[in-house]
């Protein structure tokens, strides 16, 4: 491991630890009791780390899979399935959460993921078809959500509405730990495929000459990533930009080899969301901002900045 690579890992771990300390210390109240930190802040820090990790990794995988820098965890429409599940689940009086994780949302995302998987089987893995299919699923899901909102009683959909903008305040200890375990496991499963992911970077033909079974690799990746996005969205709602910006940022530091990109995405994703979630709590206390708003507010200018820097360098 070269020294610059080693430094990148050390910095990433360090930043993550700092955001954890920051998130545990700052919130809506000053000098809180230990109880409050353990009951409310710790589960949120764990959940934010888990979801941030999952979203950043999912973004990195999808960008490589579709060779499209604009891909993000929500591109494939899985999240719309989750949103639809959450809204309908809430409407039929289903408990919005099981220990902080929206069960009906996860069910919705599974449903959409299987449709997408079916599309990828049917289209014999034509990437464009899968991508467009995913985008269409997304439109279908969000228009059904909008339809429901137009007809339903405003009161009943309020919870779902906040959830749609990203909300980690529902975190409970059990749910957070379950999410962390599942997301870590899926991240590892994806990481083990770093060779295949690198192979995909050189294009379909190139990958084949490297001895990669492109079809089966794609299918596995789509399935794993869909599950990853599903669990992230069910736990934290729609949190934008982490999955788009973090992978680009990491690639700028360590290049595009996935052996390093994935763990670093996991670390930076975790720090980013932990930090952003802490900001939502103390910026306008006693109000709490939706975390998706904060990540997008920070993420959008940052993304532009990185992009413009790249332009300068290429000139």
């Amino acid at each position: 491991m070269s020294s610059s690579l080693f430094r990148a890992y050390v910095i990433a771990v360090f930043v993550w630890l700092i955001s954890i300390v920051f998130a545990l210390n700052f919130g809506a109240v000053d000098s809180p009791a230990l109880d409050l930190i353990i009951q409310l802040r710790l589960p949120r820090v764990i959940l934010a780390s888990a979801v941030g990790m999952g979203l950043a990794v999912a973004g990195a995988i999808l960008q490589a899979l579709f060779s499209n820098p604009l891909c993000e965890p929500y591109t494939l429409g899985i999240s719309s399935g989750a949103a639809l599940g959450a809204v309908l689940g809430g409407a039929i009086g289903f408990q919005m959460s099981f220990s902080g994780i929206a069960g009906s949302a996860f069910f919705g995302s599974l449903l959409f993921a299987s449709v997408l998987y079916f599309i990828s089987l049917k289209s014999s893995n034509n990437l464009l078809t899968v991508l467009l299919g995913g985008v269409m699923l997304g439109f279908l899901g969000s228009s059904l959500v909008a339809l429901w909102m137009a007809l339903a009683d405003a009161n009943g959909i309020q919870g779902a509405l906040f959830w749609l903008l990203g909300d980690l305040s529902r975190a409970r200890m059990t749910g957070s730990i379950i999410a962390l375990i599942v997301i870590s496991f899926l991240t590892l499963m994806l990481w083990f495929r770093w060779r295949d992911l690198d192979g995909l970077l050189v294009g379909e033909e190139g990958a084949r000459t490297l001895g990669i079974n492109v079809f089966s690799v794609r299918r596995t990746l789509i399935l794993l990533t869909s599950l990853l996005v599903g669990i992230c969205v069910s736990a934290g709602g729609m949190i934008g930009f982490v999955g788009l910006v973090v992978p680009h940022f990491v690639r700028k530091i360590v290049g595009s080899m996935h052996f390093n990109v994935i763990p670093l995405c996991a670390l930076w994703g975790a720090s980013t969301l932990t930090f952003a979630d802490a900001l939502t709590r103390f910026m306008v206390s006693p109000h709490e901002l939706p975390v998706g708003v904060v990540t997008a507010l920070i993420g959008a200018p940052l993304f532009l900045w990185i992009m413009l820097q790249q332009k300068e360098r290429s000139l």
Partner: protein, 298 residues
Amino acid sequence: MKTLRATIFLFFIFLQLGFSETIVDSTGNTIALSTPPSRIITLAPSLSELAADLLDDDIGKIIGVSEHTDYPPVLKNVPSVGSYVRFNLEKIVHLKPDLVIATKDGNPKDRVLHLREMGIPVLVVSTKNISEIFQSIKMISRALAVADRGDALIRRLKRGIDKIKKRNLDKINKSKKKVLLQIGDAPLVVVGNESFLHDALEIVGAENIYKDLDSRYPRPSLEDVFSRNPEVVIVLSMSDVKDSITKMALKWISYKTIAAVKNKRVHILRADSLLRPSMRLLEGLSLLEKTIYSTEEM
């Protein structure tokens, strides 16, 4: 004298010890209280008003309220725990309440559940219609160990409502005024038959033009309003909302085919007392009555 005082003291101690209340709230949850709560947080302005009415001199027991709580004015100085749709869990835990009063109509279910999971007793009431408001008063008064005062307030409320009903009886027998109650604009939000505001219209002897819609706050199209042709349009708002309401009311002016517009009977009613289902409801009902039957033009 001394013994008497001691006896009274002991008696009160006994009362405190004897207090043990088990209440099934409107979510079907059982709340068991062994001492009368002394650190209370209310999660909606209407609930603060109710709790304040019931606590009377003990209003200091309310240690946390939701945003926009301003009545009775003393409560403006009580720490806020955020808005009722997104109250702040950290703030609430930090205040160490021994009772949180929440409403089914607005406080998110999952957050209430979260509070309960942390061992905080939460009493959830429902204030959808007038009879539910009575039940809520009963529940809250029992939880606050002032059941007698609760019953007295309910009697007063019922008497007041009967009085208003009685003086509008003649209108019920003749032709009722067709009223549109509007609470929102773009999209148009009106009052359906499941809201207590619908009950309010019936009490003052008027007819809700959306009495057939089984929902609390439906969003019909403007064309539908034309076809129902209300005789009076009332734009309802909280007292702290300013310009937007005037704009909402002015929008009607160009629709001359609506009877209410033609006869200049589009009114703005800024009435917290009507919009917050609590003891001030009587005051709100009289305001509504006056607005509907005023001959004054806008």
